[in-house]
Each structure stands twice: as C-alpha cells, then as structure tokens.
Amino acid sequence: MTLSGFKLCATAVLACITFSQTGQADDSVKITQKGKQFSEKKVAIKTGQDIVFVNDDNVAHNVYTIVNGKKRDLGLQKPTEEGSIAFDAPGTYRVRCAIHPKMKLVVKVTDGEGN
C-alpha cells in the first residue's frame, strides 16, 4: 500500500469512527450482552429512538424482534460487534437472542416529543 493509499484508508476509518460516534451521541439507548444476558430486562424509549446492542460477551449473539409485523434481525454479532434497531412506532416489543432464547428484553416505546 502506498503512503497516499494508507492516508486515504486512515481518513476513511476516522470518518467511519466519527460517524459511528455521532450516531451514538444522540439519544440512542445502549444495551449490552454479557454472560448470555441483556444488561436490562425492560427498557422504555420514545418513538424514533434507537437501541444499540453491543456484544460484550465471549460468544456470538443474534438479536431480533418483530416491529410492525416485520422481523428486525441484527444478524450474527461476534464478540465486540454492535448493531442498532430503530423503534418507530409506539408499542411493546419483545427482543430476544435467536441463539440464546433465555436472553429476553421487553422494549416499551411511547410517543416522543413532537410525534
């Protein structure tokens, strides 16, 4: 790789990190997965808020839920990986790990301000 190629890559990586941090610096709620458990059993959020699921475990997880009749599947999350789910309609949702169904989280979504 040339130096300019390296710089380009480094800039791209930095941009990604900045973007990701900006994404999380909003009102997203963070839920971790460790010891085959979610960090919370219940969480209350407003419409439009995201939940960021972080795998802090030493095994892979696969978070999913059904929102408005559609499956939201974060796919396989290896240790340290993360992903988010947007909850854009009020209601109560059951989030589960597809691999470890004992991992359960109830998400209660209420109308946010201006909605």
């Binding site: 085959k36 095994v59 892979a60 396989l76 290896k78 597809a98 691999i99 470890h100 169904p101 004992k102």
Partner: protein, 335 residues
Amino acid sequence: MNIKRFSGITSVIAIAIASFSFQASSEMDYRENYKRPSEVPYPEENPYSAEKAELGKMLFFDPRLSRENNITCGSCHNPSFAWEDAQPTSVGTPMSRLGRHTPTVLNLAWGEIYFWDGRAETLEEQALGPIQAGGEMAQDLPGLLEELKAVPGYVELFNSIFPHDGITAENIGKAIATYERTIVSAEAPFDRWIEGDETAISDAAKRGFKLFNTKARCSSCHDGWNFTDWGFHDIGIGDADEGRYEVLDIAALKHTFKTPGLRNIVERAPYMHNGGMQTLMEVVDHYNDGFVDRPSLSTEMQKLNLTQNEKADLVEFMKTLSSNDPAVSLPKLPN
C-alpha cells in the same frame, strides 16, 4: 547466597504463588457456575401441587393418550434409559421411524423453549405436541377428551384439580408439564465435588472438567448446573435437517438444534439430534475435528487439537454426571 540471588528466587516463588492462586481462583470461579439449584421452578400460570403432578404422571404413562392406545409418553421418554429410548430415532404410531432422536425429559423445569427446534414456547404446549403428531401418538385432541371423559376416575381427578373446567386439552398439558418438572436428576459425584468433596471424582475427571471449560470449549454452550445454555447451535453434523431454521428463518439458525443438557449422559446414548453417535468418545472426536464446516457452523466450533489423553479425561469427567436416580414406579390408572 547473595541478596540479588535471594531476591531472584523470591520473585520466582512469588510468581509461582500468584500463578497458582490465579489458577485456583479461576477454577473456583467456574466451579461456582455449576452449583445445583436448591428449588425446582414452577411458572405462576401453572403452580405445583402434588395432586396435579400425580395426575400428570398417570397421563404420562397412560397408553390411552395415543390413537391406537398402545404407546405412552414413556414409550420414548423411558425412565429406564434416563428418559430417552436408547435408539437413534424412535418409532411412532404407524411403526415408522421419527426424524430426530428422543430428547430426555430430565431437568426440563429450567428449560426455555422446547423440542430440538424450539417450536413450543412452554412445557405445557410441548406436552400436547407428541400426543397429536401424526408420526408419534397420532391422537386428535377432541377424541382424547371424549375418551378421558368416559373414565369416571379421570373426571373426578380433573374436576378436583381443575374445578373451573375439568378435563380440557389445556389442563392435560398443565398436568403433564407439572409432572415433567418434578423429573430432576439427583445428586451426582460431580455435585459432591462441586460442594467440596475432593475425593468424589477422579483426577482424570478433574482434568476433564478443566478442559471442558478451557481448551475443549464445551462450556461455551454446555454451561450451568444442567450443562446447557438452552440455546441453538450448528455443531456441524452433516445431515440436511435445518432444525430451528425451519421454525424461525434467521440465517444463523440454519442446522441449529437445542443444546442438550449433559446430566446422566452416559445412560443416554446414542447421541446428537439424529442419534448418529454411539459413544461419548465419538462425540468428543466430532468436536475435536470431525464437524462439517459450512456457513451456519457456530462460531464457537473450532478445531481443538486434543490429545488422546485429553479426550479420555473429558469422557471421564462426563461420567461423573451420572446420578443413579431411583427407579420410577408405574402409576395405577383409572379404568
């Protein structure tokens, strides 16, 4: 001895002590995860009562729950074989082989979702599944209710235990599930070791338990006192059965099956969801390097490079999970 040399020796001893205490502490940490629970959990929607469990036992061993009145839940979940049937796959009502190995009923009170593929959310729902399944007991529920209502002894028992509605399909499920929750493997040599009796298991078994939690990676899925995470993993058995994926279409679930607990595992041969392995050594060989690599293979599955001695130690450890449970007596049935 000069001071420099003394200080060097002290450092070596200190490191050795620190390393020993780290090892001891990490072993104690993971031993802590395997302590037996003191109570059996029952759900609020279906609390325990001795009468309900006894009724459930009667139903479990009553052949009238099958269409031809010839097989019981216990035909496949046979207490003489640690609640399995010692066959690769069982034989159902039309005398044809089923697709999957009979799983044990042991320790289901701690379960989450049921069947190899997790298609039943509760044990109550699970209990009604094989009764109705065409290849198993093949009994339609309306026909069963009619049959049981014709037996005064059952009418009386159901009315006493479920005064609101008596004989219903739901109550059959509740009674059987309550009985099944009482089926718990008794204390095994492993449990006595966990409680501090260092003589309860052999050194080979202790080495096997350490491997189980470290190099052999077994505890990634077989964790806790019943040695299961109740989760779903593709462990690379090379058959076409897609398992949990047929119930929930998530890519990571292709070819996954529920992690079986390992209590009384010696008595539960043959092994795996298809009953394809006869010995625990075959199972260990599979995990060592015998699995099929495919996109859905669990990320926890990695080649282990175990030596023959290490494999033997793992098998010795698994033998310590047998609890020599008391024989089960058959109930008297109303006629």
